[in-house]
C-alpha cells in the first residue's frame, strides 16, 4: 500500500487540473449522470452528480447480517452530508441492499434497516429528513455477481442516489 500512495497523490493532482477543463465544457453542454463525460474524466464539475460519485462516494458497505455503520461508512456519510449541505438543490433516495446469502423477504427488510441507518446518520449531520426518501431492493439488484465474499461484500450496501 505504501508504495502506491505517491501515485494516488499524483492522480489527484491531475484530477484537479482536469476539473477546470470539465467545468469549461459543462458551461456549454450541461450534463448529469454517470458516463456522460468522456473517457479519462475526473471528478466532474462542482455540485455535479459526477463529483458526488467520484469525489464523495455514493455508497457505504455493511458486514454480513449487519446494519451497523462502520467507521469507513461514517466517513463517507460525513463527506456526503457536507456535500449535500453545500448543494441543497438535491433530494436524495437511500437505497438499501443485501447480499444473496439470505432469503428474499428478510433481505427486503434488512435492506430497509440499512437504509434507515444511513438516514439517521445523515439526519444527525444536519440533512433534513424531508429531503430523504428510502427504498429497499433486498437481494434483487446486486452490483457484483459471483459466488463468494468478494461479491457479497460489494452487494451489502446502501447507495445515496441524487434526484432533482
Amino acid at each position: 500500500m505504501g508504495s502506491t500512495m505517491p501515485l494516488l497523490r499524483l492522480g489527484k493532482g491531475f484530477l484537479m487540473v482536469f476539473l477546470l477543463v470539465a467545468v469549461a465544457a459543462c458551461a456549454r453542454t450541461p450534463t448529469t449522470g454517470v458516463g456522460n463525460l468522456g473517457p479519462g474524466e475526473g471528478g466532474g464539475s462542482p455540485g455535479s452528480q459526477q463529483e458526488f460519485l467520484v469525489s464523495v462516494g455514493d455508497r457505504v458497505f455493511f458486514e454480513t447480517d449487519s446494519s451497523v455503520l462502520t467507521s469507513d461508512a461514517q466517513a463517507t456519510l460525513d463527506a456526503q452530508s457536507q456535500w449535500l449541505q453545500r448543494y441543497a438543490q438535491y433530494r436524495i433516495v437511500i437505497e438499501g441492499h443485501a447480499d444473496e446469502r439470505g432469503t428474499r423477504e428478510y433481505n427486503i427488510a434488512l435492506g430497509a434497516r440499512r437504509a434507515s441507518a444511513v438516514v439517521n446518520y445523515l439526519a444527525s449531520r444536519g440533512i433534513p429528513s424531508d429531503r430523504i426518501s428510502t427504498v429497499s431492493y433486498g437481494k434483487e439488484r446486486p452490483v457484483a455477481v459471483c459466488n463468494d465474499i468478494s461479491c457479497w461484500s460489494q452487494n451489502r450496501r446502501a447507495v445515496t442516489v441524487l434526484t432533482n
Binding site: S67, V93, T103, R104, E105, Y106, A117, S133, R141
Partner: protein, 429 residues
C-alpha cells in the same frame, strides 16, 4: 356396465377395503407401488394416449408409484367397462392397473376410470368426471388424483396450479414477472409484463386474486393485487415506508403482510375492503414471512427479535409469540402445511441453505435438501409434497424443484426460463 355420468361420482361403495392393495407411507423406507396405465380408450386414440401419458408422468413424479413399462402390457388401450385379465396383468409385475376412457362431447370432455387391484382381483376406485375442452389436461390430473387417493387413502394434488416468478436477463438487472402454470409446468402464462419487477406472489384461496410485491423505487414499491379475471393489478395501499410479504388468510378475507417503518418491520393484517391495517406485532425487530395455520387461528412467522432470524408462532390477531426453532444458524420463510401437521422452512447454517420441516411445536425437525442456495418452500394441497427454488449463484438463475416430505424423489419442475417463489394453489376440483 357404464360408469355413472354425474361429475366426480365415486362408484366404489365406501372406502378401499382393507384387503385391497394400498400404499402406506410413514417414513423414508418405502417401495414404490408398481402400476400399469394403458392408454385411455378414446374415439381419438392420440388424445387417449396423451391423457394416459400425463397420468403416468404424474404418478411417477410423486415417487409413490413405479410405472410398469407400457410395452409389456397385455393390452395397450384401457377397457374401463370390462373386468381385466388379472393374471396377465400380474404377469407384468403390476400390483394395480388403471383402465380409463376419455372423449370429447361438444365443448366438454367426459372421462371415467376404474382402478383395479390385480392381486385381489377387485376394483379399488371407480370415478367419472368431466371438464371443459379447453382445459383437457385437467382430465388427466383429476384421473391421477383419483388413483393417488384410491391407493393412499389421502387426497391427491395433481389438479392444482402454481404461481411463481418467471425470471430472465442478467442477474444485476433481471426481469421478474408473475406467472402461473399447472403443477407439472404445463399451461404456463405470464401475468405481469415485467416493467416493474415482481416477487413473492400468493394466490387467494378462491383462485381469483394474486397478491405480490413490486420493487420499483421509493414511491411505487409495495403490495399489489392482481385480478385473475381482468388481468389488472392494483396497489393495495401505502402503509409505512414499504409493505411486502403478503399472505391471504385461509378464508380469503384478510391479508397479512410486513410493514417497514424506519429500521423496524412488523406484521400487519388488513381486512380486504377496509382501508387501514392493524398491527399484529410491534417492536424494533424484523418480523416477516407470515403464514396462517390452516384453521386460521395462528400465524407462524420469522423474526430476528432474538438476534438471528428464527421461527415464531403467535395468535392470528397477534400476541403470545413463542419461538419454535432452536437449531444452529437461522430459520426463515416458515409455511404451515395445509394438513396442519408440519411447518416447512428455509434454514441457513454452515454457509449452506436447506429446506426442512418441523412440527408446529418445533419438535421433529427434518432437513430434506441442502445446497449453496435453496429457499421458499410451498406445500402441495395435500401436504405431502414440497416445491421450492434453488439458485446455483453467479449469473445463472433459480429453478423450481419438488420433493416429497421425506426429501425423496426430488425433481426439477420444467419452466421456460429461470423461476423462483413458487406458491401452490389448493386443489381445483
Amino acid at each position: 356396465m357404464r360408469l355413472g355420468l354425474s361429475g366426480a361420482a365415486v362408484l366404489a361403495a365406501g372406502g378401499p377395503a382393507s384387503a385391497l392393495v394400498q400404499i402406506t407411507v410413514t417414513g423414508g423406507n418405502f417401495t414404490p407401488l408398481p402400476i400399469a396405465v394403458p392408454d385411455f380408450a378414446s374415439s381419438d386414440p392420440t388424445f387417449g394416449a396423451e391423457v394416459a401419458q400425463i397420468v403416468r408422468n404424474n404418478l411417477t413424479r410423486s415417487g409413490l408409484f413405479r410405472l410398469v413399462e407400457p410395452s409389456s402390457y397385455p393390452q395397450q388401450v384401457g377397457a374401463p367397462n370390462a373386468t381385466p385379465e388379472f393374471a396377465s396383468w400380474r404377469g407384468t409385475g403390476a400390483d394395480a392397473v388403471v383402465m380409463g376412457e376419455a372423449d370429447r362431447a361438444g365443448g366438454q370432455i367426459q372421462s371415467s376410470l376404474r382402478l383395479w387391484d390385480t392381486t385381489a382381483g377387485e376394483q379399488v376406485t371407480g370415478k367419472s368426471y368431466g371438464t371443459d375442452a379447453n382445459s383437457w389436461r385437467r382430465i388427466a390430473h383429476i384421473a391421477s388424483d383419483a388413483i393417488y387417493s384410491g391407493l393412499t387413502g389421502e387426497d391427491g394434488y395433481f389438479d392444482s396450479r402454481v404461481v411463481y416468478i418467471a425470471e430472465s436477463g442478467p442477474k444485476a438487472n433481471r426481469i421478474k414477472r408473475v406467472a402461473v402454470m399447472d403443477q407439472d409446468g404445463a399451461n404456463n402464462s405470464y401475468l405481469t409484463d415485467g416493467r416493474m419487477p415482481a416477487i413473492t406472489p400468493r394466490l387467494s384461496p378462491d383462485g381469483q386474486t394474486i397478491a405480490y410485491m413490486t420493487l420499483d423505487g421509493p414511491n411505487s414499491s409495495g403490495i399489489y393485487l392482481l385480478n385473475m379475471g381482468s388481468g389488472q393489478s392494483q396497489a393495495l395501499g401505502r402503509f409505512g415506508q414499504m409493505s411486502f410479504a403478503p399472505r391471504f388468510s385461509p378464508d380469503g378475507r384478510r391479508l397479512v403482510f410486513s410493514v417497514t417503518q424506519g429500521a423496524a418491520t412488523n406484521l400487519y393484517a388488513l381486512d380486504l375492503g377496509a382501508s387501514q391495517p392493524f398491527a399484529l406485532t410491534s417492536g424494533a425487530a424484523i418480523d416477516t414471512s407470515p403464514s396462517y395455520s390452516p384453521d386460521g387461528s395462528r400465524i407462524v412467522f420469522e423474526s430476528d427479535r432474538g438476534g438471528r432470524p428464527q421461527i415464531y408462532v403467535m395468535a392470528a390477531n397477534g400476541g403470545g409469540a413463542e419461538r419454535i426453532s432452536f437449531g444452529d444458524g437461522s430459520y426463515s420463510t416458515p409455511v404451515w402445511s395445509p394438513k396442519g401437521d408440519l411447518i416447512a422452512f428455509t434454514r441457513m447454517s454452515g454457509g449452506q441453505f436447506s429446506i426442512g420441516t418441523m412440527q408446529p411445536d418445533g419438535s421433529g425437525e427434518r432437513i430434506l435438501a441442502t445446497s449453496y442456495h435453496a429457499e421458499g418452500p410451498t406445500w402441495a394441497p395435500n401436504g405431502r409434497v414440497l416445491m421450492f427454488f434453488r439458485d446455483p449463484g453467479g449469473n445463472d438463475g433459480p429453478r423450481l424443484y419438488a420433493m416429497d416430505i421425506w426429501g425423496r424423489n426430488e425433481s426439477q419442475v420444467p419452466t421456460e426460463g429461470f423461476a423462483s417463489d413458487p406458491a401452490w394453489s389448493p386443489l381445483l376440483s
